[in-house]
Symmetry: C3
Subunit: 347 residues, 3 copies
Amino acid sequence: MAIALGELAVRFGCELNGDPDAQVDSVATLQNATARAVTFLANPRYRRHLAQTRAGAVILEARFAADCPVAALIAADPYITYARVASLLFPEPQFPAGIDRGAQIDGSASIASSASIGANVVIEAGVRIGERTRIGPGCVIMQGSTLDADTRLVANVTLCHDVHIGARVLVHPGVVIGADGFGLAPERGRWIKVPQVGCVRIGNDVEIGANTTVDRGAIDDTIIEDGVKLDNQIQIGHNVRVGAHTAIAGCTGVSGSTSIGRNCMIGGLVGIAGHLEICDGVIITGRTLVSRSITRPGMYSGGLPADEVRRWRRNAARFRHLDELARRVEQLGGGKLGNSKQEDEDD
Amino acid sequence: MAIALGELAVRFGCELNGDPDAQVDSVATLQNATARAVTFLANPRYRRHLAQTRAGAVILEARFAADCPVAALIAADPYITYARVASLLFPEPQFPAGIDRGAQIDGSASIASSASIGANVVIEAGVRIGERTRIGPGCVIMQGSTLDADTRLVANVTLCHDVHIGARVLVHPGVVIGADGFGLAPERGRWIKVPQVGCVRIGNDVEIGANTTVDRGAIDDTIIEDGVKLDNQIQIGHNVRVGAHTAIAGCTGVSGSTSIGRNCMIGGLVGIAGHLEICDGVIITGRTLVSRSITRPGMYSGGLPADEVRRWRRNAARFRHLDELARRVEQLGGGKLGNSKQEDEDD
Amino acid sequence: MAIALGELAVRFGCELNGDPDAQVDSVATLQNATARAVTFLANPRYRRHLAQTRAGAVILEARFAADCPVAALIAADPYITYARVASLLFPEPQFPAGIDRGAQIDGSASIASSASIGANVVIEAGVRIGERTRIGPGCVIMQGSTLDADTRLVANVTLCHDVHIGARVLVHPGVVIGADGFGLAPERGRWIKVPQVGCVRIGNDVEIGANTTVDRGAIDDTIIEDGVKLDNQIQIGHNVRVGAHTAIAGCTGVSGSTSIGRNCMIGGLVGIAGHLEICDGVIITGRTLVSRSITRPGMYSGGLPADEVRRWRRNAARFRHLDELARRVEQLGGGKLGNSKQEDEDD
């Protein structure tokens, strides 16, 4: 679809430097944009590309407008405005209401008449599917699970029994929700399985990335609150709670019974131990190990960055003797380490 | 189903403090239990909830019985007893024998008459399915694979060719068993694929979590012994052996040709390098990197815990110069580090 | 199939010590080989098994030939030669041309007459499938995606819309290509979804391991170049470029907009932050965190190895005060750390 710059300016509250009748129909990066494409400048590291851009228009902050060689849509938050423009130019796909002839639906399931059920979908007893919800090809929805309106399972998603999903949720392929948590009791060198009888409850406006897994609760439910965004290949253990509007990047694992607050941002490949409490407003950088509860908002880190291998190995070898090194320094002078005023202020 | 406390006490060898005719029909946590629910106290951190519980009965150790405000089922190991009670109240689902009309079964496959084959299952040539084994919807079982009795593939599981699975195995959705291992030979800047001609052999009473992958052997087989429990999103490389009754938590990766002993417990997000031997009885905490063989039972760690970001960065910056720091200390007095008596005793 | 040692020697340019008419029909390890099996010695750690082998023939370097108790095929690179011999003895499976009756193909899709489409496959509008390409059971190929000749999706693979895959590509089960990248813009405590309108382009001769995910680009495309080999459970973020003939081991995550060079080798469980440039010829060992661009070829590390738990904890506790320790040492004598000549030379 094509739209005039003037209409974009009006719709999204931007000031326009340029021809309001010029049309755009696509999006692109600053470097690759052509005359029918809108682009944006949000990350300052890409500012160097502004002078050469051949875009139809650039969405940017007022402070950069003078440097823009083409039409400019001036916005307080260019990335948000870009997201809105792109959503207008590339609307979500619409799916025809009805049930594909290759889907297998249990007679006791309740499917809204405007819902769209794709090929090779399997829907078991007692499932309820809301209005305009799309179940893509190859999905399996086991008994008693429910999905509210305007939700989409893209393809090959598995919902185990008694999984409850809100409205406007987007679930990418390969996701498994409601598999048994890892509940084992040790007895004389063997493991006894602890039945996982809780459910999974997922709020509204949640997005779940490809091949992510969310286990069902052991007793109480596993809960993903409204507006949570989970990237790909995340593992959410049983009885975890993820607070509203928290975003978690790919490959992160959250162990059982941990509660994460609202509006947190958690990086990729982070490991969070079980039975912890992470308060609201916590930012955790990538590859961090969280082994204790976090009670103060703020940013936390734990990953040592890569180094050239010879130096890394020398330093890592010394790490094996760090305690001895510290004791030696204490003996050489100045007394105990770890008690200085500055350190205390940080705690 | 409902059951009397007296019957639970007799079945599971508990002493009962309370009315033997009181009925329970569910399980719950100490905090949320109501009068028809059984709960338990195993993790001491939840002891503070005991006094307020409104459960029908609490399974606990004798030492806590006096503090229990409701009926108590006294057990030597409350978590094991809870697991048994929950299994009684929530029995595994039963599946009707037979083959769903939407399944596609090769004529040369052998399916036990009591087996249950779900919708959209694909079973290729030469596959054998044992008695009462359940193949859930969307599973693909490629040629020559075999499953013994009472095993369950929940849904959307893929078994590649010549994968052999024992009895009473539970495989959660999205699992892939028998994909090619990562076998590559470098030649003049390109990779030549090394055919992966081994199989996968999985013992009895194994559980495999959602989206976990177990690669086939390069030449010999990849082996998962009896009673092994694998959590979600674990990667098991080619020719790995996991010893009986070992449990591995989510997101852990085991590289090729490594052998893990029996009765090990391995945390989440652990990385184990290839061609190692881990002896029996090893415990590895979460997020540890194992790059050498482990020959002594015991607990091993390797994850630095998260810290407030400013302090983390100051310390991480110093880590880059740790070897220089240690050499400086050696110069300042006391000679070489890393040779003290205490360190030697630890080795 | 059986083949004579003499024919192997001629085909693969080996010198043969032994009977050229002796037949072999399988491969095995040095320890387990019997008289009809070919084996090889490439990793010196297995040299101790050579004297006892009962193989039909061993592929090895000339320097080990004198120690070989059975027939020897002498090769400059035994592992490469083994890979070729194994590929001859175990050819790739052939699939019958045609479309399984259980597949659902949109009328506008273009399927080469020699292609093989398995059971329960779903192919949407506008898809193109090349000659001899095999789409295994349960795969979903969404609209507009294309696959060139001689490619294989093993089973239960999901290609989202507008994913473009080259020739001779092998994609293992559970892979998801083209799911939305993790594009979110924060606005007043909520996340606005940024439409992911780029594609995924995958070159020729690529292999992608089980349950790996490759996200579509946000604006430009995500690109996997020719000859790239991805192990299982890897996450490739949006707009990543992986250079030709780079190999990445399992469970590694690459964040969005990072560019990895050609002929790199990246270990397992590595985390690579977003918006970085990794140059050609970089080797990164397992469990490393890469948080800055790498501009020089070479080997980089970042994982601290496991230690016995008591010692680990003592050292990790000291790490929390490493900056204080270093400042103390600076005060004790010798001035600032981190400026020595040797360190500078390493940089």
